[in-house]
Symmetry: C3
Subunit: 487 residues, 3 copies
């Protein structure tokens, strides 16, 4: 019911997200708003919170505008959001002014785009608090242990105003109540005062606090809403992005612990915000789970394994030091250690892929095994197949790629080279050490290797010769030396 | 001497461990008491502390009783401990009542089973403090910064009693002195009051605090012993198990630092409680040491290596990213990086196993080497043997496993397939690229490969043909397109 | 300008570093002063700070003197520093006395050698503060939260003196102002009082605080300079070395964050103090960067990779779990995952080395590839070469090592053995599964493998035989059992 109440308020709110800044203190090739935090670009964290409140904000963009637009377009959750361009960087007041013609609702919510920790719950309280209060405007504040670099909300017996840090008196600097950069206005009030301020300012830059202060000077009513400082932390420097990522990462891990996931070293594990893990699953040290990976229940992910856009079904065991990328592992399969499964590979139920094995663009049938030092590329393998140690599919002939097809119940000998295109029919075998260039018929043996011969006493004789040569060299060197001394 | 004094007291004490609870808030497939913390199931941490005091507790079990019994039976240190069944979960008082007929000693110590951090030293002080005081009973308390969810020990001018959280008045809730769940009674006093309480309660559940409070109401004398809160932390949630495991892990690492082990990143290393490490040994980042592994002095364990039930002798170098499991590495051997030694393998002195090499169920003689991309399975290798890069023992013929035996001073060429069963006699060699199917006699050369032929200008001609075909296709496509346009 | 001022003062200062102690509480095979912290022996951290101030200290050495001398000699920055021997460990006063004959300057700075966190900035302030004050002497102090084990600076209304912990009264022990072990004297004052103290002490050991106290008793003027406690932390135990290494490591990481390096898990990364990283480079979890490694801009170092004396050019991608040692990777190359490049290897621009590939003492030309399960040792490869999966260079014939040379535009087939010495001429190919023992001419095909034959129905017949044998055994076992029962 409370949720519905919030939603009712939210439907009377239009939101503006300020996303035009250049973030000059942020050392990064991309805009800070595009910076990935736990697998999600910075600005999408805030947009997700807004979306949870059914808010469809208008973004004011400028710096790297086309990259931000491309990001929105790439995600169906956000592609319908509108952006508007602020050509010159003339401050948050100016950015709001540009957006206002597109605002039709009773209330206008304005937020800086770089607040990834802001929760939809707090935002919702901020909005409903404002609407219920019937104030002209509300601003979000927080108590900072170190308010340095933030604007302050100064309240005295006779006045209340926002002061930018650079304009703060020594006394004002002691104030620890900071302006969080979150505002909601009655739209009519906002339009009235922003135009007044703009009219005064003329062509220069101006800021939302100027608008708030103007309204206060004209007896506008202000509601103050205090956020937890941790929620409104912004990001101006790369070091702050690191801090916030650490907070986000801990939150994600704690969420999965509460869901019944067991970690042997939770501090060293990375899980992207868009991944999913079933309960009773065990995650060992240093595992990295990213990019929409899903892991079912009762799985085990071994230490230092990396799962990137992987689908791991229940009871799968990923042994340590394995990499799974863009691939699917079905129930009860065992993979690793030191395995590399990638590029749309598919391991069916109860397969067993072992150490130093690469599987690329291949499908491995149920209960099939490739346990040691193999490369399986562009290969389709049936069920109950055994691939001998050291076997290589030769899928590239120096010109183009070809496929290897292995049917059910085949046993490929160790140290084979399977020269694609090639098909190994059902129930057949190949001899160890074979180079298989031709198809093998069903239940037959393919053999492609030379017959061994032993050269008896070869080593004895060679060693003897080696010794003699050495002695000869030594003798010669000795003689040379002697000759030299002769000179 | 002090130790003996404690022991004297302990011989007059019978201990009861309460291990019947269902731990419904603990999301895990097994009982929380079986949950592994630093390689040791939760309940065994407490039982180890008790064992150090020569106490043989009686365990009251219920939930997953058979699993707890199986755990005790699997460990010779604890298999002689007796368990008694509490069929219904009717509280700690009822559990104690069931156990009492088996108690004969002067004093009865009762402890919750889920306190893995409780040290034998503190317990011993608790016991001797009680005996010396000649009180009717002692309870363990602690000062909690957040007492939420704990029972409180309330002391006023006129009374003293234990109050469960749910019954606490607002004022009582402010009390931060919590009941730790550790009790010792004169056995006679315990029997007297537990029967009185049980008689009142009839069939319902009742708790030890009820017994304590009853005794206090009848002028029983109570001794209070304050434990450090960190020691008496219990585990009700999976998140608490994570916290306690972190504390335990730090303790173990600090112990080994004090013993002269050097860690480059102690925060990322895991060492099970049952492992042993010699001084002057260096452990790099992210190493995981578990399952009764022992490491001697002056060894070096490289980053991200995993040792599971391994025996590592002195001066061994395990290079990074190596896995040793159920195997023994003798002095001065070098293993890795990216090596996998497992399933009862045995590397003798000064062996050298290199990258992407798997050794399974094999013995490698002293000073022998296998440095690159090899699989050695079911193999016995003598001393001073060199295994060429890319060599595979073909130990499985698709039906059964066979052994490879290589005697001293053999040199196996690179890229060999050794088809077991096969024996390579002393001092012999095999040629690179050979498939060895037959035994090689001593000091002889085994060679099993085809002779190379060069097809001169083959590539030039093929490339030319390739180009011509491409042009043909292009021409045809062009013609097809033209035809289509014709239509 | 300020820097010049400091330098002007520094030119009037001679420095003595006390480096003779035995560090008996430090469990290590080497002297604690040689202990590596972030890739730099402990004592060199302090010597670097002194060097930044253009100070050339005289070291008083004793325990493991020859090792300290060897360390200095191995580093051109410090090889010109002089050492003087203190034969017996008779205290810091005695050590200073031995050094004094070599001091000619107006001021004498004396520092314990085990303070790796002391910054040149603080030291410089200490010196200039002293010179400007025209005091007889200055001592460095710090406020310790736990002053235990440190000497205290005691100031009362009527006196001021340094008291060793062991001589502290209970009241003095409460003093948290500790003597940091950093002194500067007017050289004339130092010589006067050190001789007086030494004269009294005769043959026993004596300490610098004795000299300070003697001067104070004779109305010498003392300047007190308070350092941050974190800067003057000394190292007496291995556990303290761990703490300090952690602080140093965090400092280094924060430095690189400020330079625009992005870390996904900064807490788990190790970077030696002598390494260099370009901005916009991304470093993933658990990476270890040591031993003068340099990484250019826009590179990416994948999780759990280890770079030891590596040179990584711009836009290089090191994929996870790779090891680069003593090698150079040119721009835009991609390496890994699970690759091992070592022993003066050189990857030219845009090369691609893939999984389970070892490159040793080899040069790989631009845009060449070796993507799967290969060993390239003592090999020179031209540009645009493709090395097929599972290919091994056989560089060791059991007696000596040989080279493989592969010219431009060659395509080596999969699962090849290249038996060195061997040369593959420009534009040629080898067939999959070949053992190449002879040179291949330009644009030709080398082929060295046996022709495949298929034994049709071989498996069907063998399985049938296998079944019959099993049945035979079962029948025989049955008969044997029957016979036994007969008896």
């Amino acid at each position: 019911m409370e949720k519905n109440e919030h939603n009712r308020f939210n439907s009377r709110v239009d939101a503006i997200v300020l996303a035009a800044g250049k973030s000059s203190r942020f050392k990064s090739a991309t805009s800070k708003l595009l910076f990935p935090l736990c697998g999600k670009p910075l600005i999408l964290h805030l947009l997700t919170s807004l979306k949870e409140l059914q808010l469809q904000p208008l973004l004011v963009t400028g710096h790297q505008e086309e990259n931000i637009r491309a990001l929105l377009d790439s995600d169906s959750s956000f592609s319908s959001l509108k952006t508007i361009t602020q050509l010159e960087q003339k401050g948050t007041g100016h950015a709001t002014l540009i957006a206002l013609p597109h605002i039709n609702n009773d209330f206008t919510l304005i937020i800086n785009g770089d607040m990834p920790l802001l929760s939809s719950k707090s935002l919702s309280q901020f909005i409903s608090n404002h609407v219920k209060s019937d104030s002209d405007m509300s601003i979000g504040t927080a108590i900072a242990s170190d308010p340095h670099s933030y604007g302050r909300l100064i309240k005295t017996d006779i006045s209340c105003y926002i002061q930018e840090e650079k304009n703060c008196s020594d006394e004002e600097k002691l104030c620890r109540t900071i302006n969080a950069g979150i505002y909601i206005f009655k739209t009519s009030i906002l339009k009235k005062y922003i135009n007044e301020v703009e009219h005064d300012i003329k062509s220069g830059e101006f800021f939302l606090p100027d608008v708030v202060n103007r309204a206060l000077n004209n007896n506008g009513s202000l509601q103050i809403f205090q956020f937890d400082f941790d929620e409104i932390k912004g990001i101006n420097r790369l070091s702050e992005a690191h801090e916030i990522q650490k907070i986000l990462r801990r939150k994600i891990i704690n969420h999965w612990i509460d869901q019944g996931v067991w970690f042997t070293q939770p501090e060293t594990v990375e899980i992207d915000i868009n991944c999913n893990i079933g309960s009773y699953t065990k995650i060992e040290a240093g595992v990295i789970i990213s990019n929409n990976t899903t892991i079912a229940q009762h799985a085990k992910i071994g230490a230092y394994s990396i799962l990137d856009h992987a689908q791991i079904d229940s009871d799968v065991q990923i042994l340590p030091h394995s990499i799974i990328k863009n691939s699917k592992i079905e129930a009860s399969a065992t993979v690793g250690p030191f395995a590399h499964i990638h590029t749309t590979s598919h391991l069916h139920k109860s397969t067993r892929i072992g150490n130093f094995v690469e599987v690329k663009k291949s499908s491995i049938g149920k209960q099939s095994k490739a346990k040691h030092l193999s490369y399986l590329g562009d290969t389709t393998i049936g069920s109950n197949v055994n691939i001998g140690a050291g076997t290589i599919t030769c899928n590239y002939d120096g010109f183009t790629k070809h496929k290897t097809i292995i049917y059910d119940n085949v046993s490929i000998g160790a140290q084979n080279a399977l020269v694609a295109p090639v098909t190994i029919q059902q129930g057949s075998m190949t001899a160890a050490g074979s180079t298989i260039t031709d198809d093998v018929p069903a239940e037959s043996l393919g053999i492609g290797r030379a017959r061994q011969v032993n050269k008896e006493n070869y080593v004895r004789l060679r060693k003897q010769k080696h010794r003699e040569e050495k002695e000869l060299i030594l003798t010669e060197t000795h003689q040379t030396t002697e000759k030299k001394t002769d000179v």
